[in-house]
């Protein structure tokens, strides 16, 4: 049973690990391979700050909220494990700021200690009259992806540095199931007009006295088009750009100025910091995550694709819930092919 994962960002690697953990003991013939043209530290996941936080509203998409919760609980369970530091996993608290009252988010009971900001706290943020405080998690891609890669390598999963041009290419080699975790470039494998870039740009600075994330929201300009400051373990990420439909991965001077000016207004002490880097990336935005099975008929053979892409700006936030869902789909496929009596885990 040959399984090929396309994509080595957080989605590809975590889906691969989840499937290997659940099935390698049950399916002796399982061979797992990861194909990607970019590996850490050059993936979209590496550029993200790594903060676990969904968008403000799930627009009634309860499935995504459940996957977010599953991810948070999974990570929280690992917080005290010896692997946490290597995974780039740690707790972080901070502020979400608004210029007017807003309804509580879908994730208020997933995070820890969610509450509204007090008037005294709001004094810290002139121009903002409403906000939330909560404790969430950081999962830094630059640590998590290497950690996932190590776990997979230890398990004998093979990695191939190549750009896959089509699903057929892999099926022709004898692959039985393809996991399509190709993120922004999924459209190259199969056209998907719903998948569009949500371009982001960030400035990385040294500001070690900042211990909280600060995310502002401008309901008119939309998510992540308002300044945010996210302190990591080595540097702090300044951002606030979301350009729908912009495919450019070049750093824009105009965006840099906008991020810099707005973040310095938010936290005046930032004016004196040292800038250590800059990065642009494309959030693989979609109205909802595409997580579904697609059967492909090749002559009298049936091959399977499990799509798992379109996680926008919340890939890290939702990754494990999606990996588990992808693994469940894989289990059904195995059952049908009579490779497995019953799939592991609870039926959902």
């Amino acid at each position: 049973m040959r399984v090929a994962v396309i994509g080595a960002g957080v989605i590809g690697l975590s889906s691969a690990l989840c499937i290997h953990e659940q099935f390698h003991g049950l399916v002796p013939s399982l061979e797992l391979e990861v194909y990607a043209d970019h590996f850490t530290p050059h993936t979209t996941s590496d550029g993200a700050a790594g903060l676990w936080q969904p968008y403000l509203s799930d627009h009634g998409n309860l499935q995504e909220t459940l996957w977010n919760k599953e991810t948070f609980d999974y990570l929280l369970g690992h917080l005290h494990s010896p692997a946490a530091k290597e995974m780039g996993l740690f707790l972080i608290s901070g502020y979400n700021l608004f210029t007017e009252p807003v309804p509580d988010p879908s994730w208020k009971n997933i995070v820890l200690g969610f509450r509204n900001l007090t008037p005294k706290e709001l004094q810290l943020f002139p121009g903002y009259s409403y906000g939330w405080f909560n404790t969430a998690l950081m999962l830094e891609g630059r640590s998590y992806l290497p950690w996932l890669t190590n776990r997979l390598t230890q398990r004998g999963v093979k990695f191939f540095h190549k750009k896959v041009e089509s699903f057929q290419e892999l099926f022709a080699q004898g692959v039985d199931v393809v996991l399509n975790c190709s993120g922004m470039r999924a459209g190259d494998l199969q056209p998907d007009p719903e998948l569009q870039p949500g371009r982001g740009q960030v400035i990385k600075v040294l500001a070690p006295w900042v211990k909280h994330f600060i995310i502002t929201h401008d309901l008119k300009s939309g998510i992540y088009n308002s300044p945010y400051i996210i302190p990591g373990s080595e540097f702090t990420v300044l951002g606030g750009i979301y350009q729908f439909g912009n495919w450019s991965e070049e750093n824009s001077a105009k965006d840099r100025k906008s991020i810099w000016d707005s973040c310095c207004r938010l936290l005046p002490a930032l004016q004196k910091v040292k800038i250590v880097g800059e990065w642009s990336g494309l959030r693989p935005a979609r109205p909802s995550v595409r997580l579904e099975r697609e059967s492909v008929h090749l002559g009298n053979l049936q091959a399977e694709v499990i799509h798992n892409y379109g996680h926008g700006g919340f890939g890290i936030t939702i990754h494990w819930g999606c990996a588990m869902a992808a693994a469940r789909i894989f289990g059904s496929i195995l059952q049908e092919k009579k490779q497995l009596a019953t799939p592991p885990g609870p039926r959902l």
């Binding site: 010896p82 706290e121 070690p208 005046p268």
Partner: protein, 341 residues
């Protein structure tokens, strides 16, 4: 008295902040700081500088509250300004956890810090050995940056600073009109205050930049305080011990206790061990006194004995001491007027 000459003895957080307050309330004063130690070699440099008050048994609570409130308000404004990083002042959130629910669930300072509330069940799961906890956001003064920033502010006012060991306050009477005694533990020797006693604290300062929250056991013995570059792990409260030497067994014990509160500290690097003697007293001595020898008088203002709570109340006691200096000046001007009549 055109330009009263004020000597402030001591250059820890109390000495420097008191000197600064004096320059603010009495711009015509000429202020000089004298100390045998300056940052990074003061007791203040060992402390984490967290704004979590210590309770003084013999100081009225309303006075402690006032001191804390003034200090918090003063630092809050700095943390919100472009000087925050230079001054070493930053906000930090975290948890104070208790193995058994404390008698007093709401400390006197709960409405002064930010967002104070009991921890939820979900939050307490992170601390399986603890039954109860409080979550809040407070401020931290990192040293040396904060002391260096105070020194810079002082120099800008024209105040002078000299390294000098003062063996006896009286030796200053010919050069200065008023002496302010901010000598911390040094007051034991300098003014023979037997009510002042050391409470020895050993701490570890480690590199663990992923630790973004403070964690403090309500017993005050075990704490994790993340600073700008290092995390302070503590500690000890060895009452009556004068030893400034780090004890290796204690280092191991502190590390183990902190790791049990925050397991990820196992990965901490570059462990530095420091020791400081908290200048402890049943109540902080903020008081005027007049020394006299052979008809010559020397007004003294004491501001020492802050024990474990120096940073938490420093600005409040500095304000009070500066006010007392003002009273000394009025008294001197009054008596010099009378002398003329």
């Amino acid at each position: 008295m055109a330009s009263p000459k004020v000597a402030v003895v001591g250059a820890g957080v109390i000495g420097l902040s008191t000197a600064l307050c004096i320059t603010e309330t009495c711009p015509s004063c000429s202020v000089t700081v004298l100390s045998d130690q300056f940052s990074p070699n003061t007791t203040s440099d060992v402390a984490a500088g967290m704004l979590i008050p210590h309770t003084y048994p013999d100081t009225p609570v309303h006075r402690q509250r006032q001191w804390f409130k003034e200090t918090f308000t003063y630092l809050f404004a700095i943390s919100n300004s472009c000087e925050a990083s230079e001054a070493g002042i930053h906000l930090v959130s975290g948890w104070q956890v208790f193995k058994s629910t404390p008698k007093e669930e709401l400390p006197f300072w709960s409405d002064i810090v930010l967002g104070f509330r009991p921890m939820s069940e979900a939050e307490l799961q992170k601390f399986p050995q603890h039954q109860f906890g409080q979550a809040f956001t407070t401020l931290k003064c990192d040293c040396p940056p904060y002391l260096l920033w105070l020194e810079k502010r002082l120099k800008a006012t024209g105040a002078q600073m000299y390294t000098r060991k003062v063996a006896d306050l009286w030796e200053l009477h010919s050069e200065y009109d008023i002496v302010v005694n901010c000598t911390g533990m040094g007051a034991h020797q300098l003014v023979g205050d037997k009510q002042l006693f050391p409470v020895r604290g050993q701490v570890l300062k480690v590199h663990a930049p992923w630790v973004k929250h403070f964690i403090r056991d309500g017993d005050g013995l075990t704490y994790i305080y993340p600073g700008i570059h290092r995390v302070t792990l503590g500690g000890t409260r060895d009452k009556g011990s004068w030893s400034l030497s780090p004890d290796p067994g204690t280092t191991r014990d502190i590390f183990d206790r902190c790791c049990s509160l925050e397991p990820s500290l196992q990965g901490a690097q570059d462990i530095e061990v420091k020791v400081g003697l908290r200048p402890s007293r049943q109540c902080v001595r903020v008081q005027r006194e007049v020394l006299s020898q052979g008809g010559v008088k020397l007004p003294v203002v004491h501001n020492y004995g802050h024990g474990a709570g120096g940073f938490s109340v420093h600005r409040g006691t500095a304000n009070e001491a500066a006010h007392l200096v003002g009273e000394c000046i009025s008294a001197l001007q009054g008596s010099s007027l009378r002398a003329k009549l």
